[in-house]
Symmetry: C2
Subunit: 158 residues, 2 copies
């Protein structure tokens, strides 16, 4: 509901130290085979993840979800997977399945254990109020995944 969202991407350095945000940045840079983002600052790379409530309302939710949004969602969950791997050593797979209406699932799993299960709604409008919110959301999912991996290590290694 707040209108003081950090939509211009000028974040404090502090939040950029979030391991999750670093993981997203690393995913993006890892896919940057033409070196386009080489000179871009981290917060600029993360900027598309910040979508204000106002802007969300302006995005229509009918029709296909555009490819860049899909790729942003996939990168979000790949960041989750990378952070869980860092803490637990479990290699995981990421499956994001979004239908033409913006509904679907995001799953991160290792062996037979689901580390993250998320239903997706209104994928067209995927985004967060601020980098802080993005980091917070990611770290919540990572903590849950790490907890599951530690509670059921046997299932994660199947």
């Amino acid at each position: 509901m707040s209108t003081t969202n950090n939509v211009n991407g000028t974040a404090s350095n502090e939040v950029l130290n979030s391991p999750f945000l670093k993981a997203i940045v690393q995913q993006v840079r890892g896919q940057d085979i033409y070196g386009v983002y080489k000179t871009w600052a981290d917060d600029l790379l993360l900027k598309p993840y910040i979508v204000s409530k106002q802007k969300k309302r302006e995005i229509p939710v009918d029709g296909d979800v555009d490819l860049m949004t899909k790729s942003r969602i996939l990168t979000f969950y790949r960041g989750i997977a990378a952070c869980i791997e860092q803490e637990t050593g479990l290699m995981s797979q990421v499956v994001v399945d979004i239908g033409h209406e913006g509904f679907g699932w995001a799953l991160v799993f290792s062996g037979r254990l689901l580390l993250t299960t998320r239903t997706i709604r209104d994928a067209h409008r995927f985004g967060f109020d601020s980098l802080e919110k993005l980091a917070e959301e990611g770290e919540k999912l990572i903590a849950k995944g790490v907890e599951l991996a530690k509670t059921y290590p046997e299932v994660g290694k199947l």
Copy 2:
């Protein structure tokens, strides 16, 4: 390798008693909101699942996987989920994610437990030599899923 595939859909009654084939038929009939298949025999409904090796070779694997094939794959895994539920009482979700090149994942899960994990290749050519092969393949996946559900009931109920 055999060329005596049962491609004309005239199956013996015996294989049609397979609980898995019955589950697929039930899925198809359950989606038949216009009653189009009401008068169709079970083996006729299952016929599209039978694709001979020869016919597979003729299906190009480039471009998008057509919607009917996708829906057939989804119904296959929904049949698996239904049979596992019948034996274990675990309600499960089915996620099938196929990219434009026919590669992807098919997942059946309950709680945090993956009952079925399958990578999909050449989805365009999804099909089986015979109803017997279809039933066999399904029952193998069901048996594995049931075994996992019984070994890790706690994870399946998370």
